[in-house]
Amino acid sequence: MSLNDLRRGQCGTIINVPDENLRIQLLRFGIINGTQVSCHCKLPFGPVVLKYGGQEIAIGRDIARQVTIKAVL
């Protein structure tokens, strides 16, 4: 599944970010493969807002779709 499929309040672990540019940007924010993030909220057709380690970031739909994750139950 992708970041986009997270429901509000659900957690997921990052598995793969295919695009190098995005991978590097996320890495600087502190998100790499294996990082656990939670979905803070989600706008219809719009960005996904993630929460991790005391920080919130908003990620556009188009790139959220590229990020593969595994849901944490």
Binding site: L22, H40, C41, L43, G46, P47, Q55, E56, A58, R61
Partner: protein, 614 residues
Amino acid sequence: MSPSCCSNTACVEAGQRNIVLVGNPNVGKSIFFSAWSGIYADVSNFPGTTVEISRGKIGEDILLDTPGVYGVSSFNDEERVARDVILTADLVVNVVDATHLERDLFLSLQLADMAIPMVVALNFCDEAEILGIRVDTKLLEERLGVPVVSTSAVKNRGLKEVFAALPLARAGLSHPEIDQAVINLLDRIDTRPEALMVLEGDEVVAERHGVAPENDRERVYLLRRQRANDIVAATVNRPEKSARFRDLLGRLCLHPASGLLILGAVLWGCYQLIGVWVAGDIVGLTEEAIMQGHWEPWIRGLVDPLVAESSVLGQILIGEFGLLTMTITYLLGLLLPLVVGFYVALSLLEDSGYLPRLATFVDRLMTSIGLNGRAIIPVILGFGCVQLGTITTRILGCKRERTIATAILNFVVPCSAQIGVIAGMLAAVGFMLSLTYVAVIFTCLAVLGTVLNKVIPGQSSALLIDLPPMRLPRPANVLRKTVIRSFFFMKEAYIWFFAGSLGVSLLQVSGGLKAWQDLVAPLTVGWLHLPKEAATAFVMGMVRRDFGAAGLTDLALSPWQVVVSLVVITLFVPCIASLMILFKERGFKEATTVWLGAWILAFGVGGLLAQIVL
């Protein structure tokens, strides 16, 4: 590169050093800059407040404030600006946010790998304390190899201590593997920071040294990320705190339904403050009662016996467009209250942390005009002053986005002073007509954005923005920002107002104004269905748009004529000052296109509307 420094590792030489404030966006760098240098710098609660380098002096040395960056690299114009200053630094003050060190330490470790002498200011200790986050500063110092000082910049705590620690600045501990790789490059590239940049594949820096960029960015970044995470695991103790009030508020701003409600409330609040209260009540008092009621008769009475109003000089001084009458009235009675009102609203918005959430909220809409939500920030700042908006487009990801955002700013976004005048005039024509005006402008925005998005090749970047916590604006900061920005706005505006009035007066007494009015009468009267005197407002509008809008207030217009004339003046050419910024930021071709395009757009759309409604 640096004038006085031998090598970055051991700078003991006396003389002028470059001391550079470096940190992630929104960590408080500009507070340090202001406190140490005594020079004002904007402080707001959103990433991307500072987009230009500010310079100040401390003692013998130069202090530089940089735009916030997540790492030293060249992903956008803001980062390029910061990168070039950091590469010339003799000493770095790295400001980090104690509430999310895992993010901030990435940059700190990159600076350590550059081996520029540095001191770390562990800021936001007040918030960390409230959240129950504990940082072992001693251990952090040990792991980084540089002095770490706890601070709370807004509370003025620790600023002096960091300053006192500057002589203790040291090059940080580099990651052994990265260290080795950089050393291997030093035979080809003379300074270590630049060698690191080349190692990380920075094309610009590599080209400057005539070498090919290395391909090691990702490996180096991963090593550094791992190290940052390890350091955080060892030094930071973060309890699982449950959501607090401001988390809830932040979430409400983003929820589709409540977010829309909040956006509506914010807009309504701004309209009440600026459109109704300031443009109506306050300006009624200052412009009509004070300036026209007392000042103008008084100054006329004073000047008239010396210089008759009917003479040429009299016309210029106290005539219809008189320097001492109309100009002063516009400036003090109309412009000043509007600008102050506007900057109060803007500062409150900036300091609350709402802007990045608004960017997220409108992201979907913005993507349809080739921008991402982030572009709402320069657009909103542009409502304050189009120049500031144009410069702030540096925070956008690519050239394409900058072009689109700049075009929108310069074509359709009216600036604070102009909005005030417009709001005042719209208040008189009623709700439906005001709505028409707003609809026309928004349609122009949508069409313009869509067309540019279609014709400009390439692809825009997607939204990726960090959301700082919602914070209660500090009254002192709002007040300071309002006063300083209004002051600079007025300082810049007044000279153009005087020059413009002088020009219009001269045109009037020489008969040129009448000739111009007659010349463009086919356009004003025939096409726009406005009285031919409206042509005067267009002359004034070329100097400054707010001046042009103010020029319309005195004409006797029917309600629909008001709407048409406002549409024209809103879409009209950017003022001279904005035009100069436009040339500087976007180059000759783009700037001229915008300027000429604005004529066509303003008269085209205004005329079409006139054909329909008049």
